[in-house]
């Protein structure tokens, strides 16, 4: 469903952010990309989303090369990025310009029901809690049921309880129509809860250091022995990964 072949990304200032990235994600798979900050994992996601172009290699979604943002890839950012002047429902309908207003409304209502925000459809973003705002952002990304959904540290700004809640919620939503999920995070527990496969990245330049298949049945219980084993494996891979060079000497790309 999602193929990256030998992707490299060099920024205009000459910084090599990504190098030799090869990744194959099958339909309905949940892949979590994990790595230290500045290792290029967000850049990787932006390249897949078509927000940045790869300087080398190609990104393919369902066999088609990605040349820019497309309808078959949904994106959820670290911040909800809701338009503050629109109600929650209008925000969810934001990208539905090509639909008739009735269709858009029913699609938005379904997505809002899926994320449990039906009764907040008329609320303004400032009236939502952080977790609710992020759920609205997820509804906005899922409203057209894109086959691929990219999430860039979607829960990292939330408190621990909300984060756990939303991780479960994301898995429920995944069960809705089984999109291919690619989640970027720096939270090992989150990666272990969500992933079919964890991709460990190292930087810089950002490369894939290891891939760890997580073959545990869902729902997963944190702290049981197999969960802990997987965590040890991922932790070992993370510490094996080439450490980041001292910040400042390499000119780390701004967070995008």
């Amino acid at each position: 469903m999602l193929t990256l072949s030998n992707v490299a990304k060099t920024f205009e200032d000459g910084l090599l952010a990504l190098d030799q990235i090869n990744l194959d994600v099958s339909a309905g798979e949940i892949v979590v990309v994990i790595g230290g900050s500045g290792c290029g994992k967000s850049t990787l996601l932006r390249v897949i989303a078509g927000l940045e172009s790869a300087t080398h290699g190609g990104v393919f979604v369902a066999g088609h090369p990605v040349t820019g943002p497309g309808a078959d890839v949904g994106v959820v950012f670290q911040e909800p990025r809701l338009m503050p002047w629109l109600t929650v429902e209008e925000n969810v309908r934001f990208g539905l310009a090509s639909f008739s207003s009735d269709e858009a409304k029913s699609l938005a209502n379904e997505a809002l029901a899926r994320v449990g925000l039906s009764q907040f459809a008329e609320a303004l973003p400032r009236q939502l809690s952080g977790g609710m705002a992020q759920r609205a952002a997820i509804a906005r990304a899922l409203v057209v049921k894109p086959p691929v959904l990219l999430l860039d540290e979607p829960f990292s700004a939330l408190d621990a309880f909300t984060r756990l809640d939303l991780q479960e919620h994301l898995l429920d939503l995944w069960g809705w129509y089984r999109p291919t999920l690619l989640v970027v995070t720096h939270d090992i527990e989150e990666a272990l809860t969500l992933a079919d496969r964890i991709v460990v990245m190292e930087g810089q330049p950002g490369r894939i250091a290891a891939e760890v298949a997580i073959d545990l049945a869902r729902p997963r219980t944190r702290g049981d022995s197999t969960f802990n084993e997987s965590r040890e494996t991922v932790l070992a891979e993370l510490s094996d990964a080439r450490p980041l060079e001292a910040l400042g000497t390499t000119g780390v790309a701004p967070t995008r």
């Binding site: 927000l51 943002p69 990025r81 338009m83 002047w85 629109l86």
Partner: protein, 191 residues
């Protein structure tokens, strides 16, 4: 007197309408050069070209008000959160859709402040315009009061300016606060 005031307001609205189209102008850097010309410097030219009646006055007010408002809008657009603009890119918005659906609503709060500033400035140019030769209007009354040594007339005109300025600003501010009621900013009085 009321009629005179309304006439002045009309001039002002005329200028306002002109100042509402700066989006297209945002692409023309030559405007920056035009902007640095003091608006009052245009008066002799306008009088030569358009006579001494209403047209040059409306033009002067429009010119004077346009640039500060334009500058504010330009700054407001430059300050729109890049992250929101990126959402538009995700949905493959055209430039026009990006302006209409993200840039303009996001810059509206600052733009309204610019418009209020422009409105105040508009009243200033009303006086300047009427100084250049009018047979009615507040500016005329000021000059007339001076010529005929009647300070009461001058003071009455000044008071009327205060009243009209306050009322027009109140109208704009009320309209503005309705349009941007979604804002989650600090409002004095809340603690």
């Amino acid at each position: 007197m009321g009629i005179l005031a309304r006439c002045n307001c009309g001039d002002d609205v005329g200028s306002r309408e002109r100042s509402l189209t700066p989006v297209q102008a945002a692409l023309r850097p030559t405007l920056q050069a035009l902007r640095s010309i003091p608006s009052i410097a245009w008066i002799p030219l306008f009088i030569l070209w358009f006579g001494i009646f209403e047209t040059p006055k409306v033009l002067l007010i429009a010119f004077g008000v346009f640039f500060p408002v334009y500058l504010t809008l330009e700054g407001a657009i430059a300050n729109v959160d890049r992250k929101l603009v990126e959402v538009g890119r995700i949905y493959r918005f055209s430039t026009f859709a990006l302006i209409r659906r993200i840039l303009l609503p996001a810059s509206l709060p600052t733009y309204i402040i610019g418009l209020r500033g422009g409105l105040g400035l508009g009243w200033m140019f009303v006086v300047a315009a009427e100084f250049m030769g009018a047979s009615n209007g507040f500016g005329y009354l000021l000059i007339d009061g001076q010529m005929t040594s009647r300070p009461a007339i001058i003071i009455a005109s000044i008071v009327l300016f205060a009243v009209c300025g306050k009322l027009s600003d109140l109208a704009l501010a009320t309209l503005g606060s309705r349009l941007i009621s979604w804002q989650d900013g600090y409002s004095p009085g809340e603690t």
